[in-house]
Symmetry: C2
Subunit: 218 residues, 2 copies
Amino acid sequence: MLSSTVENYLKELFLLNPDGETQVATGELAKALSVTPGSATSMIKTLAQAGLVEHRPHYGVKLTNEGRTLAVHVVRRHRIVELFLVNILGMDWSEVHDEAEQLEHVVSDQVISKMDDLLGHPTHDPHGDPIPTPEGTLPVRSLQPLSFCKLGDTVSIARIGNQNTSFLKFAEDNGLLLGATIKVANKNEVADSITIISKGEEVVLGLAAAGRIEVEFA
Amino acid sequence: MLSSTVENYLKELFLLNPDGETQVATGELAKALSVTPGSATSMIKTLAQAGLVEHRPHYGVKLTNEGRTLAVHVVRRHRIVELFLVNILGMDWSEVHDEAEQLEHVVSDQVISKMDDLLGHPTHDPHGDPIPTPEGTLPVRSLQPLSFCKLGDTVSIARIGNQNTSFLKFAEDNGLLLGATIKVANKNEVADSITIISKGEEVVLGLAAAGRIEVEFA
DNA sequence: ACAATCCTTTTGATTAATCAAAAGTTTAAT
DNA sequence: ATTAAACTTTTGATTAATCAAAAGGATTGT
């Protein structure tokens, strides 16, 4: 059985590099997991030993097929739990990420399967992130960051890629919910901001924040 | 925040000595937790340091009020989770104990409270064990072990104090469910067995097993 | 080509939890 | 009252995960 720590390293490697195409830098991984680079190096060596990652010292690290499979399962557990907490237990989507972060390491496959049934085999979690199937397949959508939209574009929100509680509360308060249709009312590269119309109200966002909201054309 | 290990030690001390009247022996605690006596001693010293238990070396150990409060909360989480897994997720009562054993350490109070709402503020878990209130109070019932019943007694099953999966499956298969009314058809102290009639069928149990089934007079 | 800088890796220490086995207490039996 | 048996505690080691800080590569600028 994998420790929670190992599961977190694998999951984070997957999230930082979902396609498995690039190498993830030790420092990037360390930062994502809030550990020192030295800790990351030593865990990477352990994972490489176990055949879960491929490590090219000083260049980076990448999941093996085996590691990727395990990582995807952790992600599946996380996202099903999140949706369950929101849809069945009635929790707020801004709160469930941290809770799921704990639960993902202890819920059994059987519990996940029961939750999945109860939820009606959903394809996306409350933040719009795809839920991997039990076999490890991920539904793919072609989304673009809101920050790439042009003046006048009318789009619908498909994903919020920022799990921060306060940001999610802000999004909720301003009607920036999954499926909401919004229109770009202004965009100012110099001022680093974008203005959108959501439910008749103007909302101004910095481009960095808008980059973490993904949309599709309606 | 308490580690899972600490929570398990506290929980087990509570289960071995719910009234806090006697002292629990180091060896007894060690056995219940499947650790060596030496490990138990060293953890007991840590807990005593933290003010969660009172340790009289060579005599035994006992929860302090603070330790008891924490232990009761762990038990509450465990039992709510168990009932949730059975009533909401549709799992079999014989399977939920081990699952709850993991979940009890990571579910937040908020999740427990939502589960509690959804379950309608239950007082007992699927095995008939009382669920402590959020304030730490335990409902009390006066039950007696089935093994104490006399020939001809008609009683209803109120608690199954054996969490072993195979035993629970056996109980289920023989109609020995909570609330079931049974009658003692035979009792043989020499043969160490008791025979009961459950749903018209005779079921023979050893007295040790019958001792872990608790009943109340109908 | 040579530093300066920026990462990464190594080294040595620490903490929580555990075990095996030695040493120490208590209890019970003769 | 001594000794044996049973239990508890201590000791010394081990493992997983971490950190701080030293040492080692790689990259870039001049």
